[in-house]
Subunit: 107 residues, 2 copies
DNA sequence: TATATATTTCCATAATACATGAATTATGGA
DNA sequence: TCCATAATTCATGTATTATGGAAATATATA
């Protein structure tokens, strides 16, 4: 992963509404949620949400598919995995005992 | 973890120099690095680095101890773990098959 | 075609973060 | 004590980012 992409992803998550949206989609799981549901659940205006969904998409953290008039959004777990890999790169190279506790206990 | 703390941590990492510093300290492992070494390795001015180290510390992503005139910095793996837990919260609740691939393949 | 719903785009203003030079604090050695 | 080294703090001009109103686009239904 290139560094600029990682920074884009981290900046996307470092935002009051977007972190809520991402975590909501993580919880929603494979079923995802349509934009309107997200806006209603989090009490966000449609245009602000649209902008923030676009930023999360550009950051590779969520995906979407159109369903009639609605658009359904999903957390992109692969994007998240790539981001974490970049941040933890070479951590476990010489010192696996320092890195492993980070990964355990997350579930 | 409270949301504002997570946002602070993510914003700390979403920065060209700070992400370099963090990853350098992750690679350095338990031995850490003194500030001067970091500045030299990454070619960062002392005052800029100091400011960015302070931001990373405040975000709970690195720690430090003084060693004579120098200060040694370490990646804070526990802080990282807490951040990831917050982001992935409840992911594995109903759909462990979506969350697990994120955690594997990182090492 | 006309209307309603869902979402996005455009734009202006306000707020925030950034890098740098200069000065300051802290520690160790002569 | 005096000086050198290591790191931090402060002030400031610049640039980036966020927000919300209004308008526009896309799709479905009557």
């Amino acid at each position: 992963m290139e560094k600029n992409r990682a920074i884009t992803s981290l900046a996307a998550l470092a935002h009051d509404q977007r972190i809520d949206v991402f975590r909501l989609l993580v919880k929603a799981g494979p079923g995802g949620m349509i934009a309107g549901q997200i806006a209603q659940t989090l009490a966000i205006r449609a245009n602000t949400l649209s902008n923030n969904l676009n930023i999360l998409s550009g950051a590779g953290l969520i995906r979407s598919t159109r369903e009639g008039r609605s658009i359904r959004y999903f957390a992109d777990m692969e994007g998240m995995r790539v981001l974490l890999s970049f941040l933890m790169e070479d951590c476990c190279g010489g010192h696996p005992e320092q890195c492993q506790p980070v990964l355990n206990q997350i579930a």
